[in-house]
Symmetry: C2
Subunit: 374 residues, 2 copies
DNA sequence: TGCATCATCCAAAGCGCTTTGGTAAATTTG
DNA sequence: CAAATTTACCAAAGCGCTTTGGATGATGCA
């Protein structure tokens, strides 16, 4: 039997479950009475205020630990006026109800950071036409202290909307057409695709296909810009037949690659916006009896998804890599700071993708012949 | 330019953003004063209590709509003693910090249902050794009204723990060794893999490999049971060399498949626990110069992930399919009911997977010859 | 007509915290 | 040593709702 990893024993993993539970949940009044102190003092002791002697603070902390007293967060939230939660909206449309594949890793990164500061992550799944209403509701009802905007469009109305709402927010990505200043964390998509295109051009590829995301998405637009710039710099034009955009599924990658490679003047290389359509692209290449990395080169953008690592001794795909999980952490950091200090000036983080060479690229077939006979 | 889908115009998508905002957030006191009513009556009108005339209720509702009054949920939660939130814990371990690839689709399904009943989804990202503490904290602080347990182990301590805690919960999956009654939603994993194995046996395959998930996970155990039963029923034994378990990554699928097929007595068919390692398996098969569906047959379990659909005219993979998104919906339904009526008896839902035939299976090579020469 | 009933509404008391505005004792200061 | 601080605590007033326990006038019934 092959075991891919040594598993930690169950007993060890859940040892903490064995700790005895406090029978009844007590409130501050009872807890402070038990200590012979006023609720005021206990609250202050627990929250680190200075008007409490160190001896008392220690006594309170120890009793809380021993009796399992934890302040009720509903009461705390009302009293402090803070929700201690960050909102994320997951919009689903009826037609193509796909969850963004990077969503879970982004959430994992952001959530780690939230936990450190005691914030909950509040996720709202809504129909996409209800997204605006959701932000308004979240703000009005005071459900959250801030929100993260996912997947900005080129001219994204949500930014102005949230600005009006006065709810702190950070955008994962940018909106090119929005001139206002706002918090964002983005990958340098333009440069990443510029470099990736150049990399392929340097290998002798002249006809390079682009399997992009949906063009109303800002990131897809920037990537197309980088691609176009690189071609232009070598005096190459932009061929509509070599550019596709769509929702990033395996099927999309497969169908588009097959169509392009079956065209009259097929590309010798492809830029693919995500590892998922790239899986489809690889399937199409195989189906056509071609070899990836020889007949057709492929460069992907790799979000470093935890369930789909492009790793190994030599990665499967040559890639521009930028961890979406890290992006999540950065967004959380910025948002937490913005909430703590509303007067703080906006913060922007532009992450550079690294270009890592894998098995999926090689010299263009034309160049390959020259190299072989040279 | 190829467009994979017609995009709805931006203007339409965000038209709701244009609705004017209420300048100031008012509270119940102000709102009821504005109406010349007491807070009591307004609260009752808004919450559908009978002690309010229909005329007044209508007036209140219209004013609320017009002025954009929404009750503060922090206050509401304190007053009602309900958190109006369901907790999900996402444990990450330091070593293999993978997010379960089915997580986002499950969440999407559950979240849809939560929204219908006004529940928030509260997600806590914690280190896995802190998971127990998190449940206790969630319960003590009153952060949530119930929780969903993900990925139960064969003997999962969390179930007894939550039972003690008195916090309503539902398990996505089951724990074979736990005898207590509890709410769960599960796929009939045993039958699914029994059927899948039989399907391959009927095609003449005698040596069938199993690329399973981690064996401490309950679902992996049941799947192995189904596989073993099917072999046994045909008088075939269980060969350790043909059984692997591990975290379900592409890399795992690739490495394991390559190892098995390179063995002295390789399998002619594989059962793969998820589409993701199956992608790796396909890569390994290709790498070895073999053809999937001819030299090696592959049956997968397909969770019907929205970002990785096994569809098309003929699906890529023959699969036992069961939507994890549906499972999420069912879990949410059960939990919401359990919260509404704590005395309610436990509910269990066993989902049957459908066996759909795709391109990845065919007669065993031995049988193929007979068929061809027959 | 007189009394019980019902339909509507309201005042005030929570929910369990935090925080303001104190007080009394201990300590420092001139 | 008296006055001015400082230290360490507490009582009570919120936070913005829901909900209990009336109150008032309209209606039904004999």
């Amino acid at each position: 039997m092959i075991n891919a990893l040594t598993k930690s024993p169950q007993a060890l993993l859940y040892s903490k479950f064995e700790i005895a539970l406090a029978d009844t949940d007590m409130n501050l009044k009872e807890f402070s009475a038990h200590l012979g102190l006023s609720p005021t003092t206990v609250s202050r002791a627990l929250n680190g205020y200075p008007e409490v002697s160190e001896a008392t603070r220690k006594r309170v902390a120890e009793a809380a630990e021993k009796l399992g007293y934890l302040p009720n967060s509903r009461a705390k939230r009302l009293a402090t006026g803070r929700a201690m939660a960050i909102g994320h909206i997951l919009p689903l449309s009826k037609e193509h109800e796909m969850v963004n594949p990077v969503f879970s890793d982004f959430i994992a990164g952001a959530g780690e950071r939230y936990s450190e500061s005691g914030y909950d992550l509040s996720l709202s799944v809504v129909r996409d036409e209800d997204e605006a209403d959701s932000y308004r509701t979240l703000a009005s009802r005071g459900n959250v202290d801030g929100v993260v905007i996912h997947g900005p469009k080129v001219d994204d109305a949500r930014i102005a909307f949230l600005q009006d709402l006065g709810l702190p927010y950070v955008v994962h990505g940018r909106a090119s057409d929005v001139t206002a200043d706002y918090n964002w964390v983005d990958v340098n998509n333009r440069r990443a695709f510029f470099r990736a295109t150049n990399f392929l051009l340097d290998l002798g590829h002249q006809r390079i296909g682009l399997l992009n995301g949906q063009l109303d998405m800002d990131f897809a637009n920037r990537r197309q810009g980088g691609y176009r710039d690189a071609l232009k710099a070598r005096g190459l034009g932009f061929d509509d037949a070599l550019v596709a955009s769509g929702e990033m599924t395996e099927t999309y990658g497969f169908a588009t690659t097959k169509a392009m490679l079956s065209g009259s003047n097929p590309p010798t290389a492809l830029l693919v916006a995500s590892i998922i359509p790239a899986i489809g692209a690889r399937r199409a290449i195989h189906d056509l009896g071609l070899v990836m990395g020889q007949d057709v080169s492929v460069v992907i953008h790799d979000d470093d998804l935890s369930y789909f690592r492009n790793d190994g001794d030599v990665p499967i795909f040559t890639a521009t890599r930028s961890s979406v999980r890290d992006a999540g952490r950065h967004c959380a950091e910025i948002l937490i700071r913005a909430i703590a200090d509303p007067a703080r000036q906006v913060q922007n983080i532009l992450l550079e993708a690294e270009l890592t060479v894998g098995q999926s690229t090689g010299p263009a077939p034309s160049l390959r012949e020259i190299l072989n006979h040279g």
